[in-house]
């Protein structure tokens, strides 16, 4: 054990003894402030809880990230020759060089995105060597298509990869710039044509003057006349004239040929007329 560490232990023991003298052991009470008796076992548990070691950081040992218990019980244990518990020291690995290496792969939608001055990607010093300007997958003169997919993946804290990909044909930057300029000219020409041929003038119409004074107040309600209660509905028959009974209203002008026998004689006559075929 080094001399520095022995000195720390001695200083720690002194503080422990000082704290122990400042906080005497609690006296067991048999009653609570309300005069209700409570068992002595409960006071004993409370006293032990107060004597339990409390971990607090050592100010001078902050660099080593070591936390040592400084309670009275720990001091007693240490005085008895017990080995001091040592908490596991957390380790943080840092790169030795201190330089952050970032690899960027750009497949951007166009040169304007990559050439943004405020972009850290452009200020990284590698903007002049980006292959994206030469190999990016173009998206046409109108910009990125709605169905284009943009994915940004970060495999680690140091590696950032931004991928922009779509299924369109590759268009060179020069071709896109030319197409954009042509479209801008065509749009300007169309705007000029509309302004010349379809110029319209809108003049605000003067509001018509009111022909009569407008009274904003609601007219005073007229006194309602008391109406008599309506009479209950009653059935009122409509008299209908009926024709006098003067005789048959229909007259048979022809009679159908009788097919069924009406009398027993006719029926039996047809039956007795049957002969073998």
């Amino acid at each position: 054990m080094s001399a520095g560490r022995v000195a720390k232990l001695e200083a720690l023991l002194q503080r422990i003894q000082h704290n122990r003298a400042a906080s005497p052991a609690p006296q067991a009470r048999s009653t609570n402030p309300f005069g209700v008796a409570r068992p002595a076992q409960e006071d004993l548990v409370r006293a032990r809880a107060k004597l339990a070691p409390v971990a607090r950081p050592e100010a001078d040992d902050f660099e080593s990230n070591t936390y040592v218990g400084v309670g009275p019980m720990a001091a007693q244990l240490l005085a008895a020759g017990a080995q001091k518990p040592v908490a596991p020291t957390p380790t943080i690995s840092r790169p030795d060089s201190g330089e952050l290496e970032i690899e960027h792969t750009y497949r951007g939608p166009g040169p304007s995105f990559l050439r943004t001055p405020s972009s850290p990607l452009a200020r990284d010093g590698d903007s002049g060597e980006l292959e994206s300007e030469k190999t990016y997958l173009g998206v046409g003169p109108q910009g990125a298509e709605p169905e284009a997919e943009i994915s940004i993946s970060e495999p680690s804290a140091d590696d950032v990869e931004i991928t922009f990909d779509d299924e369109g044909d590759e268009v060179s930057i020069e071709a896109e710039a030319a197409t954009s300029s042509m479209e801008a000219e065509a749009f300007a020409a169309e705007e000029a044509f509309d302004a010349e041929e379809h110029e319209e003038t809108y003049e605000a119409e003067e509001p018509e003057a009111p022909t009569a004074p407008v009274d904003l107040r609601a007219p005073a309600p007229e006194p309602e006349e008391e109406e008599e209660a309506p009479a209950p509905l009653q059935a009122r028959p409509i008299p209908l004239a009926s024709a006098p009974a003067s005789g048959p209203v229909a007259r048979a002008v022809s009679k159908p040929r009788r097919t069924e026998p009406a009398t027993f004689g006719e029926l039996l006559h047809r039956t007795l007329a049957l002969r073998p075929r």
Partner: protein
């Protein structure tokens, strides 16, 4: 034809008059009758069938038809339903079963339910029915037993032998009726 339920004009009340003092039974028309059991009549009818003379049974049928026609006036001019209903009532009153009539085209088929077992071919009942309809129609009418039990075809006596042959050969009522037709001159 059968729209209205037929109301029989035949009144069975007091049809038979039992004169115990005289020891005679008379019907409404005054004709004397005998009350016989079917067991006694059956051998007599069977004997008449074997002899080929059913005149007595046919005479009994005419008497029954006369009794039915008394309440009808002129049966040939009366409704067929009324005439047939009266005939059925009289037949039931004498205990010869219940009569029903069917029409197969122009042919008439009589059914007798509960007829007495007098002979094997029901020729006795056929003779009775022939006499009954003859009295009502005021002309000769023959009834031929069909293959179905209790069924009789009402035909002219001139064609009764031919129809009887067809029936003996096992032809049913529809087959026999299909063999009959009304000639053009008729």
């Amino acid at each position: 034809m059968y729209r209205d339920k037929p109301q029989s004009a035949f009144d069975p009340g007091g049809f038979f008059e039992f004169d115990l003092a005289e020891g005679a039974v008379r019907v409404r028309g005054g004709e004397r009758v005998l009350v016989l059991s079917s067991d006694v009549v059956a051998p007599l009818v069977s004997a008449a069938v074997r002899n080929g003379d059913l005149t007595a049974v046919r005479k009994l049928g005419r008497d029954l038809g006369g009794a039915a026609g008394q309440s009808l006036g002129k049966p040939n001019e009366a409704r067929a339903e009324d005439v047939l209903s009266a005939a059925a009532d009289v037949l039931s009153l004498f205990g010869w079963g219940r009569l029903r009539i069917e029409r197969w085209g122009d042919a008439l088929v009589a059914h007798v339910d509960g007829l007495p077992a007098l002979d094997d071919d029901h020729l006795g009942v056929a003779a009775l029915l022939g006499g009954l309809f003859s009295a009502l129609a005021d002309r000769e009418v023959a009834c031929v037993p069909a293959s179905e039990g209790g069924t009789f075809l009402v035909v002219d006596p001139s064609v009764a032998q031919q129809v009887w042959k067809w029936s003996r050969n096992g032809e049913n009522v529809p087959a026999i009726v299909s063999r009959l037709h009304v000639p053009e001159e008729a």
